[in-house]
């Protein structure tokens, strides 16, 4: 009995669904073309993942290339440079995440304590600026600043910290930190926007109550400001953990050289070089590397989301 009513309800609902859909043809005109566009440009290429299991030959295409099972993955994981690429990706992501988060929260707190509106605005305008410069420009500037006769080396030498110019750009060991520093320089101001927005939504009476209770400036920051931005911090953390496999490739690709490649090449750079670097393209290796990266990324995202749920924190999905 109940099953029948359920079924009846369902058909009724479905009928209603299509009737309502027809009534909303204008909304469909506005949205469905973009939906198709997204299917074509974001989902259709996933068919290309099949090439990861093929000895893909561009001339024969997806249909004509022979299948090789997991050979491509075996090849990748047998290669030292791919394992190094995984290490580099994770290392640079973690450095970027820690540096980026700490620096932008610090700056947001400092800005939040500024009393003069005009000064605050000036600092913001200036620190947002590098976000809008292209990576090509930023890397070009970094090459000037960090070169052996550049500003950083002259500063270090005049302070007497080093005797000889440090070869920042040519030493692999410095590469991760260099990328971290450049990314902080570029994005620190921009990343404060979200935290400052969170700080302005904190109830001012909390600060008042805290200072009546005798809390000094640092105690107010510690006990009011920081708890006030916690949920924003958590959401961003989950998002960033989901993007942990995306260390970026622009900066690494532009800044790398033969001297630093052991430390500079992320998975994306690896895929790019294997696919386009030689005269005979190896698309299959690049696809396999990208596929590995995507799948790990999805696992990380859901993992972080579940962890946040378990800790009863704000979640993303």
């Amino acid at each position: 009995m109940t099953a029948i009513t359920k079924e009846l309800n369902q058909t009724k609902r479905q009928k209603g669904f299509f009737r309502r859909l027809c009534g909303q043809w204008q909304l469909m005109v506005m949205s469905v073309p973009m939906l198709l566009y997204v299917f074509l440009f974001n989902y259709a290429p996933m068919w290309g993942w099949l090439t990861a299991f093929q000895d893909y030959q561009p001339k024969k295409g997806l249909a004509g290339s022979p299948w090789v099972g997991l050979e491509n993955f075996k090849f990748l994981f047998g290669r030292e440079d791919f394992l190094l690429a995984i290490r580099n990706t994770l290392a640079m992501s973690v450095i970027n995440l820690v540096f980026g988060t700490v620096s932008s929260i610090l700056l947001a707190i400092l800005l939040n304590e500024v009393r003069s509106k005009a000064f605050k605005r000036t600092v913001q305008t200036v620190t947002y600026l590098p976000h809008f410069l292209s990576m090509v420009i930023v890397v070009g500037m970094a090459q000037n600043i960090f070169s052996s006769n550049g500003a950083v080396n002259s500063l270090l030498m005049s302070l007497g910290l080093v005797k000889e110019p440090v070869f920042f750009l040519g030493k692999g060991e410095y590469f991760w930190w260099l990328v971290g520093v450049i990314n902080v320089w570029k994005e620190v101001g921009w990343n404060t926007i979200i935290y400052i927005a969170a700080m302005t939504s904190i109830d001012p009476s909390l600060y008042e109550a805290a200072s009546i209770d005798g809390a000094g400036r640092f105690q107010r920051i510690l006990h009011v400001t920081l708890p006030g931005i916690k949920s924003t911090f958590m959401v961003l953390l989950i998002m960033n953990i989901g993007h942990l496999m995306e260390a970026g490739f622009e900066i690494q690709y532009l800044l790398r050289s033969g001297l630093t490649m052991k430390y500079s090449d992320t998975i994306d750079v690896f895929a790019l070089i294997y696919s386009f670097g030689s005269s005979k393209p190896h698309y299959a290796y690049g696809t396999a590397a990208g596929m590995f990266k995507s799948i790990v990324g999805i696992i990380l995202l859901f993992g972080a989301n579940m962890a946040a749920k378990a800790l009863d924190e704000e979640t993303l999905i």
Binding site: E113, A142, G286
Partner: protein, 304 residues
């Protein structure tokens, strides 16, 4: 909270010290932010041979405009500027048109496909087919390689921007749409005549994001138009200059080496001049849009 009275119990000293330290730290930060930019401008106005010695701060040592003169004689720069400009304008217009229309449709709570489409779109922020499958789609399946359209068609939509616009539209009074409906306007008309004009602030924000992205990209040229000189963008020209001077600076352990190669490869001053030329359009536009994009960014990211 900034207007609070200073806390008296802890003594006045701390409350004078902190703002001073804070101001000094922030001033230092501004200096660090601006230094590389000013340094590049200084190099671009320096004499080429002199610049090789390095050590130029924020003021040119031997003033010269020869780098810019050389740049202005180079037809490739004009062509690249034109390509960059048209790419940016067309991308921005098309992207805004489609993204805002979609954002409106997805802001309507009664729309039955709303949930489905939203999930499909948001997933694209996390799931990505990867570089090579995208390359194969665009260059082989769609045959866009070595055409101008490769700059436009693949960048017509961004989920993040859609969320920013949608959040703004949701914040508008619902009565606007209702009264338009009572007056007999359909959704298309409501959007174009009522909602769109009110979205100007958020559209300015998103326009800035899209335009900066289009202007700044070099990788699309590298992948799809690397063999087509008349489709080079300004950023790609700069990237190529970067590559040549990079090699020399890596090999240049000795100044003699550097001097010898500098005579042959593009001098640092030319590179800096292109940097300035390709950065100026952004630097000119962005301060005017700042008040819009701060609210836009905060809205989109908090509620996204």
């Amino acid at each position: 909270m900034t207007a609070l009275n200073p806390v008296k119990r802890n003594g006045k000293r701390r409350d004078i010290v902190f703002p001073i330290v804070n101001t000094v730290v922030l001033c230092l930060l501004m200096f660090i932010t601006l230094y590389p930019v000013l340094n590049t401008v200084a190099y671009s106005f320096n004499d080429g041979m002199d610049a090789v010695r390095g050590g130029i701060g924020i003021w040119p040592r031997v003033f010269s405009t020869s780098a810019y003169k050389e740049l202005l004689q180079d037809g490739a720069v004009y062509q690249a500027f034109w390509i960059s400009l048209s790419k940016t304008v067309i991308t921005t217009v098309l992207n805004l048109f489609f993204t805002s229309m979609l954002a409106y449709a997805l802001s309507r709570k009664e729309y039955v496909l709303r949930k489905f489409i939203t999930v499909v779109l948001v997933l694209t922020m996390y799931v990505n087919a990867g570089l090579i499958p995208n390359y194969l789609l665009i260059s082989r399946t769609l045959g866009l390689k070595n055409t101008f359209w490769v700059y436009i068609i693949p960048t017509m939509f961004s989920c993040f921007n859609m969320i920013v616009i949608r959040t703004y539209i949701v914040g508008l009074p619902e009565a606007l749409v209702e009264s338009a409906r009572i007056d007999g306007a359909g959704d298309l008309r409501t959007f174009f005549q009522i909602i769109l004009p009110l979205c100007l602030p958020v559209m300015a924000t998103v326009a800035l994001f899209v335009a900066v992205g289009a202007w700044n990209s070099w990788f699309d040229t590298y992948l799809y138009c690397g063999s087509k000189k008349n489709l080079y963008t300004l950023q790609y020209l700069l990237k190529m200059k970067l590559a040549t001077t990079q090699n020399s600076s890596n090999a240049a352990n000795t100044t003699a080496d550097a001097l010898a190669t500098a005579a042959k490869v593009a001098p640092i001053t030319i590179r800096c001049a292109i940097t300035v030329v390709s950065a100026v359009p952004i630097l000119v536009v962005y301060p005017f849009l700042q008040k819009y994009f701060v609210t836009g960014m905060a809205l989109g990211s908090v509620k996204g």
